[in-house]
C-alpha cells in the first residue's frame, strides 16, 4: 500500500514543484515566503516503515498525508498584522503593520462582511488579526486572487500571569514613587 502511495506522491510533488517554480518565476521576491503566517506549503511529509517487510529497505519510504486542504496552495503577496482600534455600526477601523515590507504604519476601515462568520465575535477593540492577500491554487488547480483575514484566538489571562504583572507594577511603583498618592488614598 505504501508503495502504491509513493507514485501518487511523486506525481503530486511534480505538480506542486511546477506550481512553485511558476510562482517563483512570476514573483521572484522575498514575498514568496508565506501565507497566513506559515511557510509556503510544500506538502506534509512523514516517514513510515513497512512493517511487513522491514528489511527491504533500511531507509523507510516517504509518503505524504494528503487532504483537500493540503492539496491547495497559497502564496501571500502582501501580509499585515492588524489591531482593531475603533468599532462603528457596520465597519471597524484597524491599525496595520506591514509584515511584507518596511512600509510605515497604515490604517484601514473594513466592513464586518470582510470577516468570516467564525471570527465575527472576535472583532473587538484590541483584537489582533492577520490579513493576507495573494494567490491560491484550488484543489481543481484553479488559480485565484484571495484576501484572507484571520483573527487571533489568544489564550486567556491566567491567575499566575496576572499576579506576576501586579507584582511587577507594585515593585515599579515602589521604586519610582508612581501611584504613591493612589495607594495612600486606598489605604485611607
Amino acid at each position: 500500500m505504501i508503495r502504491g502511495l509513493s507514485s501518487t506522491i511523486a506525481q503530486d510533488d511534480t505538480l506542486q514543484n511546477q506550481l512553485v517554480a511558476q510562482f517563483e518565476r512570476q514573483y521572484p521576491s522575498e514575498r514568496m515566503k508565506a501565507f497566513l503566517g506559515q511557510d509556503a506549503p510544500k506538502g506534509t511529509t512523514a516517514r513510515a516503515v513497512d512493517e511487513n517487510n522491514p528489511s527491504e529497505d533500511r531507509q523507510p519510504p516517504l509518503f505524504r498525508v494528503t487532504s483537500n486542504v493540503t492539496e491547495q496552495m497559497a502564496i501571500a503577496l502582501q501580509r499585515w498584522e492588524g489591531m482593531v482600534t475603533t468599532i462603528k455600526e457596520d465597519t471597524f477601523v484597524a491599525r496595520l503593520k506591514d509584515l511584507s515590507t518596511d512600509i510605515a504604519e497604515e490604517e484601514v476601515e473594513m466592513t464586518m462582511r470582510d470577516v468570516s462568520d467564525d471570527d465575527k465575535d472576535l472583532v473587538q477593540i484590541g483584537a489582533i488579526f492577520y490579513w493576507s492577500i495573494g494567490y491560491e491554487t484550488t484543489a481543481t488547480r484553479q488559480v485565484k486572487r484571495t484576501s484572507i483575514i484571520k483573527f487571533r484566538r489568544l489564550p486567556a489571562w491566567s491567575a499566575h500571569e496576572l499576579n506576576t504583572i501586579k507584582k511587577r507594577a507594585a515593585e515599579a511603583a515602589m521604586a519610582i514613587g508612581w501611584g504613591a498618592q493612589d495607594e495612600v488614598a486606598k489605604a485611607g
Binding site: 503577496l77 489582533i128 492577500i133 501611584g179
Partner: protein, 376 residues
Amino acid sequence: MAGEHRTKSPKLDEIEISLFGPGYGECIAVHLGNGQWMVVDSCIDPKSREPAVIQYFSQIGVDPATSVRLIIASHWHDDHIRGLGQLFKKCTSAEFVCSEALGSQDFLEVVYAQGERIMAENISGLDEFHEIIDELKRRAQAVGGRLEPPIFAVADRCLWQSVVSSVDVPCTVHALSPSDAALLASKLEIARLSPKIKTPKRGIWPSGKNHAAVVLWVSVGDRVALLGSDLEETGDPYSGWQVILKSTRKPQAKASIFKVPHHGSATGDNPGVWKEMLADDPIAVLSPYMLCGLTLPQKSDIDRLCSLTKKAFITTPQKSRVIKRESAVEKTLKDLNLSPKQVNISIGHIRLRATQGEPWKVELLQEAQSLCKQSA
C-alpha cells in the same frame, strides 16, 4: 543664509515655541529662557523615524541631556507620545510629567500587561511608558533609590518655576487640567482596561476620550502661551474647558500664543477661551489629524479659526497617501473596496520666536503653512 538662521538656537532671553506635526501626532518644544527647554509630547519624523524634537535639537546645537528640564506627556494617545521613551532617555536631567489620570498602579499594570508583546509591534503607545518607567527605575537605582517621583499634572498645579536671578527671564509652567471629575473618569477607564482573569488577551487601546489631557499655561518673561493639548468641551460642567474657564485659581494673564486643542475640532472649541484667556488676534498653531476616517481640522473648523484670528498656522497639509503595491494586491484591494492609508507622510514645523518687547517671528518650516490661506 536662511539655512544658517534655521540652525541657530534661540538667544538666552528669547522664548521659542516650536510645534512639530506629521499627519498624525504632535510635539511642542518650548525654550523657557536661559537655555532651558520643555518638551510636551512627542512625534516621529516619518522619513528618519526618529523623534522630531531630537533631530531639531541636534540641528540647533541643543544638548537634550543638559538643557531639557521637563518632559510632559499631555495624555495617553499614541499620536502624542510616539518616541517619548527615547526622548526621555536622552534628556537625562529632565523631570517627567504626566496627567494625574495615569498616576495609579492600575496604569502600571496595564503597561506591564501590554509588555507581554502580543503583537509584532506595539502601537498603543504603552511601550513608550514602559521605556519611561524603566528609565525612572534606572535613575532611582543610580542615586540609591532617592529619586523624586514623577510630577503628576492636575488642574491649577504649578509644574515648574525657574530660579530667577536678576539677569534671568522668569518662567512658570502651570497645568490647567485635568479636573477632579475628569481624573475620576479616567482612572475608572484605566481600571476597566487592566486585564482580568480568564478574559482573552488582546491589545490594549485607550478610549478616544481626551478629558484627562493636560492643558498648559506657560509664562516666559512678558509672554504667555496656552497649550491646549487635545482637551475637548464635553458639555459636562465638571470637565473640559468649562472647568478651566470657571477656575479662579488659574493664572490670569492672557496668552498671545494658542496651541489649538484637538487639532482644531469643533469639540475642542469653547468661545469663552478666545474671549477670556487669549489676547486679541493671537497666533494660533495646530497639527492635523487624519485617521479613523476623521480628518481634522474640517473646512468648518478652518473657517471658524480664521474668523477668530488671521494668524493661524498648521504643521502639514491634510493629505493621505495610498501606498503603491504589486498590481495583483492593488486589484484585490480595489475589488474589496479596501484602501489602507499610510498613517504619516511628511512632517512640518512651526517655529515662533520673540525676545522681550519684540513682536513674534513666525517661521513655517518643512510642510508647515498658513491655515487661513488654505481655507480661501
